[in-house]
């Protein structure tokens, strides 16, 4: 008997199967779950156990490994396999609470850091495209700092307030550094000669993707219920990397990345006819020997390039040439754009002891963009420290600091200060290089030379003299302490801060359009701060053997401050001196102040029965100062519950062997929101005329405030399943949800005879339903090391306006004749209306008998919905030994949008589609209405080709320039090679890999201009549906080198 219990000694080392690195802190237990010890810094352990004891080695993220030892061992190496089953997957949920995924009754998608850095772009959030079912990115595409708006599960809110909550290490940044800020008066449709809006990006862009450990996407309000009112549109939880004690000693990683970007899709510009109108027989720059001037027009309906000689512009003298020169096309308009370059270099240090771990990283990014003289520099520093002070107290802190500085960001949109406006207006018969010397001879610094129409500005002047500067510092961080009173009771206390300070300036030279004949200098100082403190008290109790309850109670106090001070000197004494002291007139000031507080209490009750049934109940109460009035605070608080259930069928039923895992989940949630725009519950006069009137003049507000404002309420039901088959080689995750949002806080447009433009009301109800599917599979995995993994996502969403007072509401007007977004009961959020063709009963276009032009409807017609009906993606990864290749395609289907660039290019005869009929005449495909009301095939030949195309695709015919935004994109590809551990060791490193990648490689789409996935800057929002002189979208190629020592 004694011999049977004889002790043996086991010594060995635990390494990760994935990287061969030692694993520190592996817990070693026997079959009675008695702790036998843990591994040390080098992953080594030494235990004494009775013979034939079964020992379990477990570590988070790895498969537990069980071994039985009969004899002593002294030099054992155990490789722990990376966990692949859902059972052990730990995900970050609301408030940063880590949970086992199997216990969740709602959908969470986790994107790992490396998926974000495989093919990096200027805005790291681009990398979320195609990886998360139900996620929609609305991109501004407006320059190197271009911001994105993230919408989860469609739009359920009638106002623009439908973005996901962005949380970085527990710090909500939406209303602070993550807030997009527009300058007053700047509009993407900016033909009033004011400044064009530059996209200054937001703090969300500035997050360094190299520092991101994972992104948890909480898609529904059920998942985000604990975030309270701000989580009504789902949440994106970003967790930055921490130090790990797994590595031996100090880990140093160098990551170097070079990316080149250039335009990937261009309009079909014609180079057969030059400047002129009506098929003119000659050309003359200014009036000359050949006749009156034909150079004032922006149209290219002039003479055909037939080897003629005309008097043309001479860039040297900036006047008409003295001799006739050949009439030739210059097919180099697209060459105006340069190759953008981005260099990213980062160093990270990480390591720790068994008590303290830390990670520190520094990243430098240098960017030049595709338009001349634009780009930015970014430096980020991140620090993460975690320390176990003693067995009960743990303190952690994460701090991220970023400085992003740009000497010039391009102005976006359609207006005389915009590059893309010039792109539309430039002539096929003129060389863009003629514009390089942009000052008028002898008037350097005072007058800008542009040879043709006075509408567009010289693009080189815009690039080098119309400067939009930005210097932004953001600091986000938290300090957190957790105290474990007992094994079952713990308290977490955390303070977090999100602080941003940005200085912007817009410099305009003399002659910068008719509103700024003597230049302009404008500055904005923007300070944002959101500070919050919260606590979580957690108690876990096991009843009997199978029943476990975890009760968590928490509370938070939040204070948000946002100040923006703008000063304008819209006339300068001396050209080129950009200081407020150089102002020729009084300085106009545009102060903006906003402040609100939200206090909250919340609770979470998680119960589990055995290992197959999990129930979560939450409740939260918010007190939101936004809803208070100067006289009362009784309607500021509101509360809302959620419940979710997870049922693991595979744990209780005997399922067929091919099913490894089957989980079904359901949730119900209500979320209230009181909005985060303060000062709308009491009457305030507005400062008139930017404060320039004597005596502090005022206007009545155009928005009538509402002292009885109530929070809106979103109710959502969700059902889902997570199924895995064939040894986890194939997995499905499906979700269906429906719900509605009512009592929306709307700015209702009213008849101005009330004295107001809008009144603030609680109105409307929008239902929202959708389906999401994610499939993960490993079609091939061979012993030789070849592995093919694949993932597929699909999501669709429908929203319907159920109630809307008694009227239809115009939400947004497109620029000029482009149509408008109108919501009506029974309609959807993105319904686009505009004038279109008059059509015969059989659908044929009706032509005007007299002119031969297409006839345009008198009333607006439905043109389609601007929100795509579904999105889908397919990603594949192939690994073979040291090689890895992946490729991602994604697609969207079912949306439409109106293109302003297209209608303008058509009106000016710049597209190849305006060539047919020049000048032999054209008969449009359609019918003519006879006097008796019947129709006959169109037989009217028109020689007014300009007017003909205008009737089809010009300003009045919104339908003619409305196109489907469907696309398939080759979104990402990457090939990398990782050096073998043996070779790496020889070189004295821990790891090394090199990769090449591409992003947005190809686009297949019926959209005529650049990129169907565009958004237009509209104040602080980015809107879909109306393309307004967008920039080219870019294709990125890069090389990436990672070295760890």
């Amino acid at each position: 008997a004694f011999a049977q219990t004889a002790s043996i000694s086991i010594k060995g080392k635990l390494i990760g199967d994935d990287d061969g690195q030692p694993i520190i802190g592996v817990i070693i237990t026997d079959s009675n779950k008695k702790n036998l010890g843990t591994t040390n810094f080098d992953g080594e352990f030494s235990i004494n156990i009775p013979k034939n004891t079964m020992v379990t080695f477990s570590y988070i993220g790895y498969e537990p490994t069980k071994m039985t030892f009969a004899n002593s061992q002294s030099n054992l190496t155990i490789r722990l396999k990376v966990a692949t089953t859902a059972l052990n997957e730990v995900v970050v949920t609301a408030l940063g609470i880590k949970r086992e995924e199997k216990a969740l009754g709602y959908a969470v998608t986790t994107v790992q850091g490396e998926q974000l850095t495989d093919a990096v772009s200027n805005n790291w959030t681009d990398a979320l495209s195609g990886k998360v079912a139900g996620l929609n990115l609305v991109r501004s595409n407006s320059g190197p700092a271009g911001s994105n708006k993230i919408i989860l599960r469609g739009e359920n809110n009638l106002t623009g307030d439908n973005e996901a909550l962005i949380v970085v290490d527990g710090v909500v940044i939406n209303q602070g550094t993550g807030r997009r800020t527009a300058n007053a008066g700047e509009s993407a449709y900016g033909t009033g000669s004011d400044n064009m809006p530059a996209d200054y990006g937001s703090g969300l862009n500035d997050i360094n993707p190299e520092d991101i450990e994972s992104v948890s996407v909480l898609k529904g309000p059920g998942a985000a219920a604990l975030y309270g009112q701000r989580g009504a549109n789902g949440a994106i939880i970003i967790t930055t990397k921490s130090g790990s004690a797994k590595r031996k000693g100090l880990g140093i990683t160098f990551n170097s990345n070079v990316a080149l970007e250039s335009g990937n899709r261009w309009p079909d510009l014609q180079y057969e006819y030059g400047q002129g109108t009506g098929g003119a027989s000659y050309y003359s720059f200014g009036a000359g020997p050949d006749g009156p001037s034909t150079s004032g027009t922006s149209s290219a309906y002039g003479p055909r390039f037939d080897g003629q000689m005309f008097f043309q512009y001479d860039p040297v003298t900036q006047t008409r040439g003295t001799e006739r020169t050949p009439w030739v096309p210059y097919n180099k308009l697209n060459d105006f754009f340069e190759v953008g370059e981005t260099f990213t270099n980062s160093v990270s240090l990480d390591g720790g002891t068994d008590k303290t771990t830390a990670r520190f990283s520094v990243t430098n990014v240098k960017n030049t963009w595709i338009t001349p003289n634009t780009g930015y520099d970014r430096n980020s520093v991140a620090l993460s420290v975690s320390s176990k002070i003693n067995s009960k107290l743990q303190v952690t802190s994460k701090i991220n600091y970023t400085n992003r500085n740009s000497d010039n960001l391009p102005g976006a949109g359609y207006g005389n200060q915009s590059l893309m406006y010039w792109y539309i207006f430039w002539q096929p018969s003129a060389d863009p290089d003629w514009l390089r010397n942009y000052w008028k001879l002898g008037q350097e610094g005072r007058a800008i030379q542009y040879p043709f129409s006075s509408f567009p500005e010289n693009p080189y002047a815009i690039s080098y003299e119309f400067i939009n500067k930005s210097d932004r510092n953001t600091l986000t961080g938290n300090i957190q302490a957790t105290y474990n009173f007992t094994k079952n009771l713990s308290l977490m206390v955390r303070t977090s801060l999100d602080m941003g300070y940005e200085r912007r300036a817009q410099e305009r030279p003399y002659d910068a359009g008719t509103r700024l004949p003597k230049g302009s200098y404008r500055t904005q100082n923007i300070y944002s701060q959101e500070a919050s403190s919260d606590f979580l008290l957690k108690y876990t109790k096991k009843f009997k053997k199978d029943f476990e309850v975890t009760a968590t109670a928490g509370g938070s106090m939040l204070k948000n401050i946002y100040n923006k001070d703008e000063i304008r000197a819209d006339s300068l004494n001396q050209p080129g001196v950009y200081t407020t002291a150089n102002s020729a007139g009084p300085l106009a000031t545009y102060p903006f102040r906003s402040q609100y507080n939200i206090n909250s209490f919340y609770g979470l009750l998680s119960t589990s029965y055995k290992d197959f049934l999990y129930l979560d109940l939450t409740n939260r109460i918010d007190w939101n100062s936004v809803l208070a009035t100067p006289n009362r605070t009784d309607n500021v608080n509101f509360s809302y519950p959620s419940a979710s259930l997870s049922f693991l069928a595979s744990e209780i039923f005997k399922l067929p062997k091919l099913i490894d895992f089957a989980k079904f989940r359901t949730s119900y949630s209500e979320v209230g929101s009181g909005s985060t725009i303060p000062y709308r519950t009491s009457y305030n006069y507005e400062i008139a005329g930017s404060g320039l009137y004597p005596g502090g003049a005022l206007n009545n507000p155009s928005l009538l405030p509402n002292p009885n404002l109530r929070p809106l309420r979103t109710t959502t039901y969700e059902f889902g399943a997570d199924l895995r088959f064939f040894n986890n080689r194939l997995g499905f995750d499906v979700a269906y949800y429906y719900g509605n949002t009512k009592d929306q806080i709307l700015t209702r447009i009213v008849d101005r005879s009330t004295g107001y433009n809008q009144v603030l009301v609680n109105l409307g109800k929008v239902s929202n339903r959708g389906f999401e599917l994610a499939v993960n599979g490993t079609p091939i995995s061979t012993k030789s090391g070849f592995k093919w993994t694949s993932y597929f996502t699909f999501s669709s969403n429908r929203n319907r306006v159920e109630e809307l007072g008694d009227s239809s509401v115009v939400l947004r007007n497109g620029p000029v004749g482009g149509g408008q977004i109108v919501v009506k009961v029974g309609g959807s959020m993105g319904d686009l209306y505009g004038r279109g063709y008059q059509r015969a009963p059989d659908g044929q276009v009706i032509y005007d008998e007299a002119t031969g032009f297409a006839k345009i409807s008198d009333e607006v017609v439905y043109l389609g919905n601007t929100i795509p009906k579904f999105r889908t993606s397919l990603g594949n990864e192939f690994r073979y030994k040291q090689f890895r290749f992946n490729a991602l395609f994604d697609a969207q289907v079912g949306g439409v949008a109106h293109s302003l660039s297209h209608y303008k290019l058509v009106e000016q005869g710049k597209l190849t589609k305006t060539l047919p009929g020049r000048y032999s005449g054209i008969i449009g495909n359609g019918v003519i209405q006879n006097a008796d009301g019947t129709f006959r095939p169109n037989d009217k030949i028109t020689f007014d080709v300009d007017g003909y195309y205008r009737s089809h695709m010009g300003i009045d015919n919104a339908e003619g320039s409305t196109f489907r935004t469907d696309f398939i994109k080759f979104r990402e590809a990457r090939l990398d090679y990782t050096l073998t551990p043996k070779l790496v060791k020889k070189l004295g490193m821990q790891k090394a890999s090199i990769g090449v990648y591409g992003r947005n490689l190809f686009i297949w789409s019926p959209w005529p201009i650049f990129d169907p996935e565009f958004g237009t800057l509209a104040g602080t929002d980015i809107v879909q549906g109306f393309e307004t002189a967008q920039f080219p979208s870019t294709r990125t190629y890069g090389i990436n080198l990672i070295i760890g020592i």
Binding site: A688, G689, Y693, L698, N700, I749, S753, G755, Y756, D944
Partner: protein
């Protein structure tokens, strides 16, 4: 807020609206300019898009809210001020009259009550609007009698002079009374009131008595007092339209000093900043068939135009474009009333005074006698002239006096049919001058039931539906 804080921006914003509409609506209809576009829906061709209606409706009502608020703020326990109340009423009458003359029946008695949660105000019949405006002007006249001046800095029109506001109010009263003087059901009442103001009780109804007292917001070019034509119109757009043949031919044929470069011009440019076209001072005939337009002729110089090395004198940044109501207009009102025998005095004298002041407002140094000018122009009253000939002459001259004053040329043409505008072959709307602007389309959605009632009462919401005072 104090009443003084609201007045200046409300005046500037109202004038901005009026000036923009004057330029691209009134001037096109009344052949001051011809926007040479072959596109559909061109105003000069009596065809315009419905969304043209929104601008004036939206902006004027919002400014009315400010004007009305001045009255309320000056009528509170803490602040009783007769002057601001009187000025508020005059401004309300001025702006409401432009609205009703443009659209017909409009929200009036229930308008501007958003604060009282009236979001769908009823439309009042034009007659009731006018009778209400008359009451407001009577009240203003009473309030301003002997009222103290207001803060000069708050009043860019009269620099605080309350008695001048009173004079403007009574002159405006005459403008509105004359507008209804042909409408049978109220004609006698209006004619009697005109006589009361002009002949019976002139001391109780002081009126504008000189160009100096004209209601004009003179743009200084400083900050908010920069001309809206500079702030709201691009320089290249300002000089884009050609001047109409009707407008410029008379001035040229009359040898009008406002067109004269050599005597009354500056640096080669005449007082109205009109550039010569290929045919010298000539215009484009309005109302042409699409595609048959003549080449551009004379046009207005812009703020960026340079003539013989000097920035050209131009109306884009001229101080006098902030026209509300000038002395000359009032003289022409009296000329018409006298010609029709409603008031004492000589129609011819009022007519000559109107012509003289219309010119000297712009060219104070004009040295010619008005009689000589009229004889040279063949515009003098002749003994043989009947009422029709006098009306034609009065209104042709009044047309130039009303230049730049919101839509007044259009209103007067609709009322009288004068001046006789040539009609081009390309006109739509059966060649009949549009009688109104349609209501803004969004009002159909935002105020649906009252919109339907208004259309039922007034007639179809179309540009050919005559407003109440225009109907026989």
């Amino acid at each position: 807020a104090l009443p003084a804080q609201l007045l200046a921006p409300a005046l500037v914003n109202t004038l901005t609206t009026n000036m923009v509409r004057n330029r691209n609506f009134n001037n096109e209809l009344m052949q001051v300019t011809v926007n040479q576009s072959d596109a559909e829906a061109v105003v000069f061709r009596y065809e315009f898009r419905r969304n043209l209606s929104d601008y004036a409706w939206n902006n004027l009502y919002v400014q009315l809210n400010n004007f009305k608020d001045i009255y309320n703020l000056a009528n509170s326990d803490s602040n009783i001020d007769k002057s601001y109340r009187g000025i508020s009423l005059i401004c309300q009458a001025w702006v409401f009259s432009i609205l009703t003359d443009t659209y017909g029946d409009i929200p009036y008695s229930e308008a501007l009550k958003g604060k009282e949660l009236v979001f769908e105000p009823k439309f009042d019949q034009q007659k009731d609007v006018y009778l209400g405006l008359f009451q407001q002007l009577e009240e203003a006249n009473t309030l301003l009698a002997g009222a103290p001046n207001i803060l000069a800095g708050s009043d860019p029109v009269y620099q605080g002079n309350a008695s001048r506001w009173r004079k403007f109010g009574n002159s405006l009263y005459l403008r509105l009374l004359l507008r209804l003087s042909g409408k049978a059901e109220v004609a006698q009442q209006c004619i009697d009131k005109i006589k009361d103001i002009v002949d019976v009780n002139p001391s109780n109804y002081p009126r504008i008595a000189s160009n100096d007292e004209s209601a004009i917001l003179k743009w200084t070019g400083m900050g908010p007092f920069t001309s809206p034509y500079v702030l709201s119109v691009r320089e290249q757009d300002w000089r884009a339209p050609s001047i109409g043949a009707f407008f410029i031919d008379h001035l040229r044929d009359w040898n009008d000093p406002r067109l004269d470069i050599s005597t009354y011009g500056r640096n080669g440019v005449n007082r109205w900043g009109i550039a010569q076209g290929p045919n010298g001072f000539a215009g484009v005939k309005s109302g042409y068939v699409p595609g048959t337009g003549e080449p551009k002729q004379s046009y207005f110089y812009s703020s960026a135009s340079v003539v013989s090395g000097f920035p050209a004198q131009n109306l884009q940044n001229d101080p006098l474009t902030g026209m509300i109501m000038n002395y000359a207009e009032q003289q022409f009102i009296l000329a018409e009333a006298a010609a029709k025998g409603w008031i004492n005095g000589s129609a011819e004298d009022f007519y000559k005074s109107g012509v003289l002041n219309s010119i000297t407002l712009w060219v104070p140094t004009w040295s010619l006698s008005v009689d000589t000018y009229l004889i040279n122009a063949d515009m003098q009253f002749l003994p043989t002239d009947g009422l029709a000939e006098k009306m034609e002459k009065i209104h042709l001259q009044k047309y130039y006096a009303l230049f730049l004053a919101d839509n007044q040329q259009w209103f007067e043409y609709r009322r009288t049919g004068y001046p006789t505008l040539p009609k081009g072959p390309g006109l739509r709307n059966d060649g009949i001058m549009p009688a109104r602007m349609t209501y803004p389309v969004y009002v159909e959605s935002a105020n649906p039931s009252n919109y339907k009632l208004a259309v039922a009462a007034q007639g179809p919401d179309e540009i050919f539906t005559q407003v109440w005072w225009q109907k026989p």
